[in-house]
Each structure stands twice: as structure tokens, then as C-alpha cells.
Symmetry: C2
Subunit: 334 residues, 2 copies
């Protein structure tokens, strides 16, 4: 296997999502040198998706100039329960059928390059800590609220991945033990109560129960078409039903974060993901609940903010992850 | 202030509990050289309790031989929300009236010695990691189930205390958002559902509702006298009501630990405290729930065991805490 003895060479990064495979070549200064993407088309099966990952990597490798600006490694961020020690996607709600897929080694063998695999929210935590809202903090919790709820943990300035590289699943702690079942096995965990999917589900339920809302107009009467995006929009425009649904999700997020603050006593909680784009409209009730309900010593220490990096956060984090893993292995070649 | 330039000198440790102030001189090999104790008598007020801490420290200092076996520092473990950075007891359910008491500096000034203050469950986590059930592990979660539920976190072999030294309050994450109110401000947190106090409360409630149980005989008809100890005993002896109460607490502990396993992906969870003395009778249902409900990658990685160290665990942990804090400050005098 070709090994890269120079951790400052660019990293070819891939963000494997349920909808899109995004990819970029990122240099040591976190600049994007080139980018490409494919649709995931997860319904076509695991092998077809891996084939499209190969395609996008190949295309970016061909584009790169030979020499020191040629990528020295590949780093993949993916949603789900990732064993980043063994490089395996063990289970992913966004990638149905992906069960114990040794993605890292398949990519490494195909391209003969050092390859890394990390959970996308952990990658985002690292990126927000090094480049975004968490710069200069010691202990950071990253929460992404989108289709699901993911998490990443930075402790003492270092990404914390746990014993198998699977830590950070903050969306899968139980908040309401009598609540709805989650795919993860638990009932009433944060994800099933407060994710984008939960927000859309609750809004649809209330509409089908006959409640009135401007939401119906937003989707031209097609209740099935409602997503968290429409609910957020309607809530911010003053629609009562939508505002109640968002307030309920914010309440669960606040209760969850009070627990996170009691457990981690962090400097900062950074909220990313599509649902968090509501900003203070979502986060003010979360902040209020933390201030009221968590131990005051820890509540006073924490800032709760929205993420600063945009859609590239997973790619940027994957690049930093690869670079730091390589530096860890080769401390004298830093 | 007299400073100790030799971190291998014994540490004079104090474990400040709601009932008892235990104290011991502990050497660098974690041997207890001398011990003493007082009743806390917390109802006599903060100053009186601090006076008794002074007494017990003074008595042990007098007992110690002068020279290298004389304690070089004082280290206090205490229940509650401790700011171990500033050395302040900010709030403690076991010590009513203790609100923002700068205990560390009061003791340091009285004796002119380096003094440390740490949460008792964090101290216990450290002791179990260095000397007990967690030897050789990287990532350890310690849970004490007694009157309340406390926690301590070891990450990468180091005690994790968070940004104000108050991390680890695993008892205060919400499991059932519709549950009873806790003193901490939250409703339905793990402590209010599964602590010794919760077990006794639930048993009394069922008895007052007219259910029958061998418990009534154990306390000669005085339902008010029931504690978790009697409920544990009756449950293990086959009493149905008591067994149901313990099973309910174990269920909440299992749901809570599934979340902890998803978040931390730890090597080991160590259960200490009086209620945990039930051993497998309590922990088998916890293990089963974690195996069934947590992500399998993290569930497979974790061992769930009872603590190995006895009642001295807080004192032993306080001694290790002081020694490692001093080594951190004086890396070349290790």
C-alpha cells in the first residue's frame, strides 16, 4: 500500500449522505481545491453506492495535479453508527441495507491510499472546534438536528470517539420513556422526539386531526409533502400550529441539553443541521430550559450557539480527522 | 502557604457525606496509614460541620509522625455539584444549606497546606479506574446508586471534570419527562426514578395503596421505616412487591445506561453505592436492556460490573486526585 509520509498533503474527502455523495479535495489550510458529487441512490444497493464513491474519488484524483498537491489520503464521513477503529459502517438509518460494511478497507484497497472513516457528526464537531463556532474551547458538544439527530464530542480539544469509535450518539438517549419507538431500539429518545422527521410527523398528525394551519397552503393541500422546512417557515411566520410543533421539539431539545450540560459541563454546545437554521427561534427556548433546569454551575459555563460552517462541515471535519490521525501516527513528521 | 514539593508524601483525605465525615491518611501506595471520623450533623449548620472537618484533620495531623510520612496535602471528596476548579461546594442535596461554600480555601487557609476538592463519585471513578474494577480500561463510567445517583467519567485514562469541574452528573439526565420532580430542577431524571430514595418511595406508595408484602414484617409494620435496604432484601428473598419495585428501578437504570453507552461507547460501566450491593440481581436486567436497546457496536464493547473497592473508595479516589493534580503541576518531580 502506498503510504503518505507527508501529513500536509491535501486530503480527498467524501461525505456519504442518504441523498448525496459530496466530495472535495481539501488542503492543509482547509481550502477546497476541487469538488464533485453524485446522487447516492441508496435504493440501488450497497455495491452500486460504493461504485459511485469510487467514481467520485477517481474523478477528483484525475483532476489533481501530480506532485505535492496530489491528495495523500482519503477520508470519509458517513451518517450512522460507525466503527471508526475498524472502518466499518455498522448501521445507518440514512443508508438502508448498510449493515457491517467495511467501507474504509474497500476504498483503501481500491486506491492504495491511507483511508479513514468517521461519523459525520463527529467530523462536524471537529470542524466546528478547529475552524468554526468552537474555536478556542476545551470541551464542545456538537448536535446536528436534521432528518435525525447526531452528535459529536470534543474533550480537552480532542475528538472523543469512545472505545470502538462509535461515541457521540446523543440523539439516542431516552427523554420520554413512554414515547414513540425509534429505529435504534429505544423508545422516546431525543431523535424520535425532536428531529426534523419528528417535527414533520407531529405537524402532519395535528393537521390530520383537523387542526387548521397555514401549512396546508404551503404544500397546496398535500399534507404528505410537509417537511420540517415548511413547519419551520410557517412557525417563524406566526402560524400557531407550526409554532406549537417547533416549541415542543425545542422543549425536548432543552430537556436533553440540560442532561448533556449536567453530564459534560461543556464550554459550548454547537447546533448544526437543517433544522438548526431556525437559529434563535429554536435555540432561545433551549437556552432558557438549560438555564432553568441544569445545575447552575454548569448552566452558567455553557454557551449554546448555531454552527458557523456551512454544508462543507462534514468534508472539512473529515480532512482534519485524517490529518490528525496521521500526525498521531507520525509525531515527528508533523 | 507551605507547599509540598514531594507528590509521593501521604495525602490526608476527607469524605464528606450527609451522615459521616470519614477521614484517612493514605500513602502513595494507596495504603491507609491512619483513619478517623465524625458524625456530620448537618442540621447544626455549615460552620459547625466545617469545624468538625477541621477537628478530624487536626487529629490525624497530630497522629502522623513528622518527616516524610507527614501528609503533604489535604483532599476532600464531597457529594453534590462541586466546582473543583474553584474548590466550591455549589449545591449538595446531602448537605442542606451548603450553597456556594468555598470549602477548599477555608481548609487550605486553616492548615496552610495544598488542598483539593472533588465530587465523591468522580473520586470513586478515579479509584475504581486505578485500583478497582476498571484497571487497564481507557473509558470508564462510574455510577453510584445510593440515596441519590452520582456519576464519574474517565476518558482516555484521565478523570474528566468538564469546564468548571462539575461534570459527571449522570443521575440528572431525564429518562421520563413526565416523571416526578427532582430537587435538581428536572422532572423524571434518573435519580428521581431509580435511586435508593426512589426505590423506598415507590415501595411505601404501593404498601399504602394496600398491596401486601413481606416488607411490612421486616419493619414491624412501620412503613415509614422502609429504606432501599429492606426492599432489596425482600426482593432477593422473593417478595413480589419488592421485586417489582427493584425491577422498575433496574428498567430505568437500563434505559439510562443504553443512552450512556450510545453517548460514551465506554469500555466499562462500574456500579457502586449501597443499592448496587444487590449485584447481578440489579445489574442483569440493566445488562439485558443495554444489549437489546443500545447500538450493537457500543453494546458489544461495554462490560457492566459492580465496584471492587469498598467504603473507602471516595477516600482512595481523593488521594489519587490530589497526587495526580500535584504531578500535573510538577511534571519533572514525578
Amino acid at each position: 500500500m502506498r503510504t503518505d509520509r507527508e501529513p500536509r498533503r491535501p486530503v480527498l474527502t467524501v461525505d456519504l449522505g442518504g441523498t448525496k455523495i459530496a466530495s472535495a479535495v481539501i488542503d492543509a489550510g482547509s481550502e477546497v481545491l476541487a469538488r464533485d458529487h453524485r446522487l447516492t441512490r441508496v435504493d440501488e444497493g450497497v455495491e452500486a453506492v460504493i461504485g459511485r464513491i469510487f467514481e467520485v474519488v477517481e474523478s477528483l484524483l484525475k483532476e489533481s495535479n501530480p506532485g505535492p498537491s496530489q491528495p495523500g489520503s482519503i477520508s470519509i464521513a458517513a451518517a450512522g453508527a460507525i466503527d471508526s477503529v475498524k472502518g466499518v459502517v455498522t448501521l445507518s438509518p440514512n443508508l438502508p441495507g448498510w449493515c457491517n460494511i467495511p467501507l474504509r478497507d474497500q476504498v483503501a484497497e481500491r486506491f492504495g491510499m491511507d483511508t479513514f472513516l468517521v461519523n459525520d457528526a463527529s467530523a462536524a464537531a471537529l470542524a466546528e472546534h478547529r475552524l468554526g463556532a468552537g474555536r478556542g474551547t476545551d470541551n464542545l458538544i456538537y448536535i446536528t438536528v436534521s432528518t435525525g439527530i447526531g452528535g459529536g464530542i470534543v474533550i480537552g480539544g480532542q475528538l472523543y470517539l469512545g472505545s470502538s469509535g462509535a461515541a457521540g450518539e446523543i440523539g439516542h438517549m431516552v427523554i420520554d420513556s413512554g414515547g414513540p419507538e425509534c429505529y435504534c431500539g429505544l423508545s422516546g429518545c431525543l431523535e424520535v422526539l425532536a428531529s426534523g422527521t419528528a417535527i414533520a410527523r407531529e405537524a402532519k398528525k395535528r393537521l390530520r386531526d383537523g387542526q387548521n394551519s397555514a401549512l396546508i397552503g404551503l404544500v397546496a393541500g398535500n399534507i404528505d409533502a410537509i417537511t420540517a422546512r415548511e413547519v419551520s417557515q410557517a412557525a417563524q411566520d406566526g402560524d400557531r400550529l407550526a409554532a406549537e410543533v417547533v416549541a415542543q421539539a425545542a422543549k425536548y431539545l432543552g430537556i436533553g441539553m440540560a442532561g448533556v450540560v449536567n453530564i459534560f459541563n461543556p464550554d459550548i454546545i454547537v447546533f448544526g443541521g437543517g433544522v438548526s437554521k431556525m437559529g434563535d427561534f429554536l435555540l432561545d427556548p433551549v437556552r432558557r430550559l438549560v438555564r432553568e433546569k441544569a445545575f447552575s454551575i454548569s448552566a452558567q459555563a455553557v454557551r449554546i450557539v448555531t454552527a458557523e460552517l456551512g454544508d462543507d462541515v462534514g468534508l472539512l471535519g473529515a480532512a482534519i480527522f485524517a490529518r490528525e490521525q496521521k500526525m498521531g501516527r507520525q509525531p515527528d513528521e508533523n
